[in-house]
């Protein structure tokens, strides 16, 4: 279980980081979301992984740590709000800057003289 858990966190993080480094806002938002999923899973595992154990102190000798669950809940709520905000901001950036690049500029990939399309109209 530990191996599966750790590798899924790892895959999520690497996909997230890859997407965050893209130049358009949509993949970046997706990357941030994946990254925060990975972080939530990681945070959850900080109370050690265990099966079929009550999250209560004192009633049994073996128990699951309830604190990471509370922490994850907080992190999910905050992450959700932040994602909503960044989505709205990305849409506004699309409207304001005329393209969906994080830098607000479409990089010049070919050598044609199409500068007029590439410049941000400020």
């Amino acid at each position: 279980m530990e191996l599966l858990y750790a590798s899924s966190v790892g895959v999520l993080v690497s996909c997230g980081v890859f997407l965050i480094l893209r130049s358009r806002t949509f993949p970046v938002v997706l990357g941030l979301t994946m990254f925060s999923y990975a972080v939530n899973l990681f945070l959850f595992s900080s109370g050690r992984l265990s099966l079929n154990q009550a999250a209560v102190l004192g009633t049994s000798t073996e128990y699951a740590d309830p604190l990471p669950q509370a922490l994850v809940l907080t992190a999910i709520v905050i992450g959700f709000a932040m994602t909503a905000f960044v989505v709205i901001l990305a849409i506004r950036g699309r409207t304001d800057l005329g393209n969906d690049h994080v830098d607000g500029q479409v990089p010049d990939t070919n050598n044609h003289n199409n500068d007029n399309n590439n410049k941000v109209k400020v």
Partner: protein, 510 residues
């Protein structure tokens, strides 16, 4: 009532934000302004009351919901955190006052957002629980995202997008660090963590080290330490100046968190993990100071110049935190208050100067003369002398103190020349900016109808009051340098007093 005083600087701004969102206080602009100024004055007075109480009775520990540490969340009001809370409340009051002259109408919800930002900053200063620190960081960040967009243009959207994405990544790294530290230490109360970190053995030591250094990445991002400082100049220069002035406290939250975490948790008593971040902080601070100096020389307008001055001050503060002696920390506390007030004043001044120069705005080139050269010129002179660190104002005292405090540091032969050179660079740029803006006129640029608009942009009484409060910080900090430095030394020695800190926080303040 008085036992709840430590919680009021967090509770009051939250109530203020909610009150300002609801009728009748938030109904029209006049009532919003009056309510907002009154409520921020109350917050400031309450912070001062807390400061006096802490001075009289010692550190206040407030256990939220009576859950005592380390199980519940505690707020720790010690001399350092209450000083910074009062500074934040003062800055909030000044910014609300300044914006009441018209800036608050350029977008919606300016006043509630300022109060929510103050809630987050005060909470971050007061909390004694590291996960709670994360939560307050997020509160202040989401308020700052919205404030950054306030009355903004297209350039602003881009800077805001970068700022938000960077901070989201920062928050994720913060959570990873907290997960690692909780997994190893089994606690999130900072005093309890400090106790347990010395007991770690075997591989756990390395895990805790990873967690501790990941925290440094997060704080460096919030505090704009090189190489994570690139967001700051654009963000601060495109935000509305009054918002930028308010943000002057936000980089200090990062520095303050470094002070807490690396002095208390990973300080002298942390066994194998003591001073893990010291070398990193010191050298990155050096690079930050150098980079800030280059930025100061290269700035083309007053707001960018001020933003780069913020970077220099962050570098200086982090260098002092890295020295980790009582004297360096007390110099850092004095310099922190001074630099916050002065950079905030410079942002506001840049705004006022820019308004009176028409299209040239705050660019450092010859342009139309300002309408009120005497008033703005004198204010600029005082702020410039303070920020450069020339005698007789507070900048000079701070500078001499911090140079003296780093005298025994290991790599002081790097710090002294670098810091003095950068001071020279600041002197040159600020002098050049001042003389160009106030003395080099190019009156042909003034169009016939421009004089009317310049007349209209004369300094509003509310703006003047805000500016005077900030500017007078420099002479006041010079006149009252004695009591202030004693306070700073007291606060620093308490921060470094490991056993006393642990005892006070874990026993609930007695």
């Amino acid at each position: 009532m008085t036992q709840h005083l430590a919680f009021l600087p967090v509770l009051l701004p939250m109530l203020a934000g909610v009150i300002l969102l609801t009728s009748p206080f938030g109904k029209n602009i006049t009532s919003r302004r009056v309510t907002s100024v009154v409520l921020s004055t109350i917050t400031f007075l309450v912070s001062l009351a807390l400061l006096l109480k802490v001075q009289a009775d010692g550190t206040q520990v407030y256990a939220i919901g009576e859950w005592s540490a380390p199980f519940g969340i505690v707020l720790v009001a010690d001399p350092l955190s209450t000083l910074l809370v009062s500074l934040t409340a003062l800055l909030g009051l000044v910014c609300v006052l300044y914006a009441s002259a018209g800036d608050d109408e350029k977008g919606s919800f300016f006043h509630p957002l300022v109060h929510f930002l103050i809630l987050g900053v005060n909470g971050a200063f007061l909390t004694g629980d590291i996960f709670n620190l994360f939560v307050f960081f997020e509160v202040l960040l989401i308020a700052s995202y919205a404030l950054l967009m306030h009355g903004g243009d297209k350039r602003n959207t881009r800077a805001a997008l970068h700022y938000v994405i960077l901070n989201l990544v920062g928050s994720a790294i913060f959570l990873i660090a907290l997960g690692v530290l909780y997994g190893v230490l089994g606690t999130l109360n900072m005093a309890d963590m400090a106790q347990k970190v010395a007991l770690l053995q075997g591989d756990d030591v390395y895990l805790a080290k990873i967690g501790g250094l990941l925290l440094l990445v997060v704080f460096a991002l919030k505090g704009a330490l090189l190489p994570l400082h690139l967001w700051l100049p654009n963000t601060y220069a495109t935000a509305m100046p009054v918002v930028a002035a308010l943000f002057a406290i936000m980089t200090k939250v990062g520095v303050y968190s470094m002070m807490r975490v690396y002095t208390l948790i990973f300080g002298d008593e942390a066994g194998e993990l003591s001073h893990i971040a010291q070398t990193w902080m010191w050298w990155f601070a050096m690079a930050t100071i150098a980079m800030g100096g280059v930025g100061v020389l290269a700035s083309k307008d007053l707001r960018k110049l001020t933003a780069n001055l913020v970077i220099v001050s962050v570098g200086t503060l982090v260098a002092l935190v890295a020295v980790q002696t009582i004297e360096a920390t007390s110099a850092a506390i004095y310099y922190l208050v001074h630099s916050t007030l002065v950079t905030a004043a410079l942002f506001l001044l840049a705004d006022l100067i820019g308004r009176q120069r028409g299209d040239v705005a705050d660019r450092i080139t010859a342009g139309p003369a300002v309408a009120q050269p005497r008033l703005l010129g004198v204010c600029f002179l005082v702020a410039a002398i303070a920020v450069i660190g020339m005698p007789p104002l507070s900048g000079f005292i701070g500078k001499v103190w911090l140079l003296k405090a780093t005298l025994d540091a290991e790599y002081t032969f790097v710090f002294w020349p670098l810091y003095l050179l950068v001071s020279l660079a600041i002197l040159l740029s600020v002098a050049k900016a001042g003389s160009t803006v106030f003395w080099h006129h190019q009156d042909s640029l003034i169009e016939s109808n421009a004089t009317d608009s310049v007349e209209q942009s004369r300094v509003h009484p509310a703006q003047l009051a805000a500016l005077i409060i900030l500017i007078s910080g420099a002479p006041l900090m010079t006149i009252f340098a004695g009591p202030l430095s004693e306070y700073a030394i007291g606060a620093a020695s308490q921060l470094h007093d490991f056993n006393n800190n642990i005892k006070i926080i874990l026993s609930g303040g007695h």
